[in-house]
Amino acid sequence: MYVYRIMLFLVFGGYLLSPMLMSGWATPGMAWYRPFVIWGILIALSMWLEQKRKLDEH
């Protein structure tokens, strides 16, 4: 259960801070794929937590 708190923190933190990210994405000159890279990192983290959970349960 403890590992899920990381995800809770990230999701709600991300929710509150996402407007700042949004304004950053819209800045001219920023790489167009940047939002997707951040999203991808979050998915990788979630995948890692899922693997960790499986190990914990075993």
């Binding site: 259960m1 995800m7 929710y15 407007p19 819209a26 001219p28 167009w32 998915i43 979630s46 899922e50």
Partner: protein
């Protein structure tokens, strides 16, 4: 774009036929089950969220607000990243209580059919714009491809086909909770098609219009800046609100709820979706801005084409258009199928069955199935009708947001279901009604009337007046909803049933059902009771299904088992007819009986739930659970039998030692009444209950293992702080102690006889000595050969009598000097002869042949009398096992530094099951009363005192039967130093 109508219809119908073929392949088993049930298929099926909005609406939104379109994907991705803490608890509830929809869940939690009805109505109203959006994209796509002025009829044709597929995939079984492998596979295929087409379109944009990512980046930093300048920027509030709406949609929209919870193949699959669905959505979202930027570079006039349909302008190649159409059709059809299936179930359970209960319906299953099918068609046609009359006048974003804002009104209720047990139905109904009123007036009704939205801006929030209507209404509606919900819940009373349901649903609570008796006495009794509501056939089937699921016997009369059976039947009926109707039926026809006492918690059930929840506990709760488990283990593994009863005489605990003693497993009796326990326990435990004292000493009880003597101790638990007490009973097996006591009495009696025999021997000895002396004198007094012979015979006979008496006295004294024995060299042949001599004195075994084959002169270091005792025991046992005419042989031979002495017989042998316990006290193979079970332990003890060892072969190697007991004894340390002959008189 001048494809014919027939061509488009053929394309669309061909795609739908592909779905049908996929369903057929799964149904017939042409696709391996392992593949169909793979978690990846479930993750893809969750892609049903990406409706026509994802293919067209996102492009429209991206054109207007740039990256703001991502809210549609990120909201849902956020919800799925929280699968373990948000979605798994909901899934657990829906699975446990067979809840197939949001309305089922709310009706179950708030214990009100009106809650279910209201949620169904809100869902129905919310979903209509979303359904209209799906149909509209089909109509618009047909219009763009064919130029047809009125594509509605073709859209209707697709709707009919989709309706048929929905019936085929989702309404073939009577039970809404039945898993549909076919449905999952088909929706997964649709998701794959959508994804493949979107990625292909992204590829066309990136490499067909641009020259790759670098060129795209150059264009965005250069000429593209002008095109981007017209894009609006969502302010932080709007962005967060959009995220919240789509976050809520992940588990509130009927198609998402159905796919996420009702169709879940396993918890593992749901947990895997925590990253696989966000990954899928990432891939779906990636091509959207590429399409927008590509069409901007191509100079496509978005206002003329409709910004939602820019993908059609990506290429002049008709195959690209066909791909776009197929992607839209795949997205729309998947969403419509699942919405129709889910909504049909909700309408059936919470509108139709509430208005017309199915009391004693002749063929209930068939009746429900056809109702569901009709409702599926009605929902899809309702969507088409809404599109024709209302949707056609509005853009996709307006329709979609109206739908999502409406469903978001259920969010406070859902969070309360999970995290606030104090919420009650009055608060939920008032809050939901207020929020929905704001939404209806502000967004939904203006769709119909084309009037400006009616937005109530409360004082202090005037800043919202200049904001978009959807944003202001979302905030006002949710704020009103939440404030009224909390306020009313706090000031009104929560019913007992609602409180129990809240505990069942709450993430941090464990359901604590009460221990109440039922009117029915066995599972079989449920059938006539239920038949009054469901008809005989359906009642029998439901009861049998529930019994089979729980693994119970129809004749199990344990109150605990009957309560579980009632719960299971309620859950199964809930899956069939919704929780409101199911609860109504079990409450009316399977009522509890109140005995006047306040009911207490069903401790056994609570414990079993705690065991299941263990992995979810953290912090203090986990520590406390650890303590609970420790105490529980202490009681269950106590080496003394223990059972505990509640005040109502229901058995709450039956520990391992008692299970072993009684031969009755705890699971088969826990929850039973004391008086219904198997014999002799009901009577025995009744005795201690009726006993005024706290114990019963050595009660004779016949168990499977034979006659046992049990001592029972009783402790009464006093009721404290509203909790009812109970009785704890300790059961000690005192059988061995009783046998030992009996044996001691017997031994004492034998010892008395021995003392008497020694006295008698002494008394006999004197006259015998006199007789011997007289015979000796007689030899000196006469020369008569006849008299001399007589005197010799008298002397021989008196010597024989003296030897017999001496042996008796010697044997009687033999067991006393156990310690400090002085070991000497002992002639084994003499020991054997002495033992045989004693054995022959007994009357039994006269017809058995005894042979002493010990070689003369073979000696061991030992105590002659105790070795005689060993042989007497062994030969006695051999004699008892032998048949008339059998031979018992005593042999001895040198072996290493010692001598092997053995006793062999040809008797029936020793059973393998007792062979390992022969040297334990009281282990005997003889019938009760014939053997004490002390002989061989004594033999073992004596041989060990002689530093030897003993071995039993039964049968001996190479023989079919018989027994050979071999003892190894050491030779005299200095053979020849002490050559005392074994003295029979000692």
């Amino acid at each position: 774009m001048s494809t014919s109508l027939a061509g488009v219809f053929t394309l669309g119908a061909g795609y739908l036929l592909l779905l049908f073929l996929c369903a057929l392949a799964v149904e017939r088993g042409w696709v391996p089950t392992r593949l169909v049930r793979h978690p990846a298929v479930y993750s893809l099926a969750l892609g049903v969220y990406a409706s026509a909005w994802a293919v067209y609406g996102s492009v429209e939104l991206a054109t207007e607000v740039g990256y703001g379109y991502l809210a549609y994907y990120l909201g849902v991705a956020g919800a799925f990243l929280l699968v373990p803490v948000l979605l798994v608890p909901i899934q657990r509830m829906t699975r446990t209580y067979q809840l197939a929809s949001l309305a089922d869940l709310f009706a179950f939690r708030f214990r009100s059919r009106w809650v279910g009805t209201l949620i169904t109505l809100v869902t129905l109203l919310s979903v209509m714009p979303l359904l209209a959006l799906q149909v509209q994209t089909m109509g618009d796509a047909v219009h763009l491809l064919t130029g047809a002025v009125s594509p509605a009829l073709l859209a209707l044709g697709f709707c009919v086909l989709i309706g048929l597929l929905a019936i085929l995939f989702g309404a073939r079984h009577t039970h809404l909770q039945a898993r549909h492998d076919t449905l999952l596979a088909v929706i997964a295929l649709e998701s794959l098609v959508k994804l493949a087409v979107m990625l292909a379109l992204g590829g066309v944009a990136l490499y067909g219009v641009f020259d790759g990512p670098t060129d795209l980046q150059s264009w965005l930093n250069g000429p593209g800046l002008a095109a981007q300048s017209s894009t609006l920027r969502l302010d932080p509030g709007q962005w967060r609100t959009l995220l919240l709406l789509f976050f809520a949609a992940a588990f509130l929209m009927p198609h998402m709820f159905h796919m996420t919870f009702t169709e879940t193949p396993s918890r593992r699959a749901l947990l895997q979706a925590s990253w696989s669905l966000p990954l899928y959505l990432l891939l779906m979202a990636l091509p959207v801005p590429l399409i927008v930027w590509a069409t901007q570079r191509l100079g496509v006039d978005a206002s003329a084409l409709g910004s939602a349909y820019l993908a059609f302008a990506l290429s002049a190649n008709p195959w690209v258009d066909a791909l776009v159409f197929i992607a839209g059709l795949a997205a729309a059809s998947g969403t419509m199928i699942i919405i129709a299936i889910a909504l049909a179930g909700m309408v059936l359970n919470h509108l139709v069955l509430v208005a017309r209960p199915p009391d004693n319906q002749p063929d209930l299953y068939r009746w429900l199935l056809w109702l569901r099918r009709a409702l599926i068609v009605a929902v899809i046609l309702g969507g088409w009708l809404f599109y024709r009359t209302v949707g056609i006048k509005h853009d996709l974003t307006t329709l979609g947001l109206t739908s999502f804002v409406g469903m978001a009104q259920c969010l406070p209720g859902m969070l309360a279901v999970l995290y606030w047990p104090g919420a009650n139905r009055k608060g939920m109904l008032c809050g939901l009604a207020a929020g929905c009123a704001v939404w209806l007036l502000g967004l939904w009704l203006p769709l119909l009337t084309d009037q400006a939205p009616l937005v109530f801006i409360p004082p202090g929030l005037e800043a919202l007046e200049d904001e978009p209507a959807w944003y202001a209404i979302t905030l006002v509606a949710l704020a009103a909803n939440i404030i009224i919900f909390i306020t009313v819940s706090l000031i009104t009373r929560t019913s007992e049933g609602e409180r129990a349901a809240a505990e069942a649903c709450s993430v941090d609570a464990v359901i604590r059902p009460k221990r109440l008796p039922l009117a029915a006495r066995t599972g079989e009794d449920f059938k006539p009771y239920l038949a009054e509501a469901l008809g005989r056939e359906v009642a029998e089937r439901e009861v049998d299904n529930a019994l089979a699921a729980l693994g119970l016997s129809p004749h199990d009369g344990r109150p605990y088992a009957l309560r579980r059976l009632r719960d299971r039947i309620q859950a199964n009926l809930s899956g069939l007819m919704g929780p409101s109707v199911a609860q109504d039926i079990v409450d009316r026809f399977l009522p509890y009986q109140y005995d006047g006492l306040a009911p207490t918690d069903d401790i056994h059930f609570v414990e079993s739930r705690l065991e299941a929840y263990r992995s979810r506990l953290t912090g203090l709760a986990r520590e406390l659970d650890g303590l609970r488990r420790y105490h529980r283990r202490t009681l269950t593994q106590l080496p003394i039998g223990l059972c505990a009863f509640g005040d109502d005489s229901e058995l709450l605990m039956w520990n391992d030692a008692l299970a072993q003693l009684s031969g009755i497993e705890g699971d088969s009796v826990i929850g039973a009444r004391r008086d219904s326990l198997p014999a002799p326990w009901a009577e025995l435990l009744g005795r201690i209950f009726d006993e005024p004292g706290s114990y019963l000493y050595k009660q004779a009880v016949t168990l499977e293992s034979g006659l046992r003597y049990l001592t029972l101790h009783k402790a009464t638990l006093a009721a404290e702080q509203g909790e009812r007490g109970g009785t704890v009973i300790l059961i000690e097996d005192h059988s061995e102690m009783k046998w030992l006591e009996d044996e001691l009495v017997h031994s004492e009696r034998l010892a008395s006889i021995g003392r008497l025999a020694a006295g008698v021997a002494h008394e006999i000895g004197n006259p015998i000595t006199g007789i011997s002396s007289l015979a000796q004198n007689l030899r000196y007094d006469t020369d008569d050969p006849q008299l001399l012979e007589t005197a010799d015979q008298i002397q021989q006979l008196t010597e024989r009598v003296s030897r017999i008496v001496g042996s008796l006295v010697s044997f009687a004294h033999g067991g006393r000097h156990v310690e400090q024995t002085r070991l000497t060299a002992v002639e084994l042949y003499q020991v054997g002869e002495e033992a045989l001599h004693l054995i022959r004195l007994a009357r039994s075994g006269q017809d058995v042949v005894y042979s002493n084959l010990c070689p003369m002169g073979l000696r061991v270091q030992g105590d002659a009398q105790r070795l005689v005792q060993v042989l007497v025991n062994l030969i006695g046992n051999a004699r008892d096992a032998s048949q008339p005419g059998d031979e018992i042989v005593i042999e001895a031979k040198p072996q290493g530094s010692g001598v092997e002495l053995s006793v062999s017989d040809a008797g029936h042998g020793i059973d393998a099951s007792v062979r390992d316990h022969l040297f334990e006290p009281f282990s005997t193979t003889k019938p009760p009363g014939e053997g004490t079970g002390l002989g061989l332990p004594l033999v073992y003890s004596i041989i060990r005192e002689h530093h030897g060892h003993i071995q039993i072969d039964s049968p001996p190697p190479g023989q079919q039967h018989g027994t050979r007991i071999a003892m190894w004894l050491p030779r005299p340390q200095e053979d020849g130093e002490d050559h005392d002959e074994p003295d029979s008189d000692r």
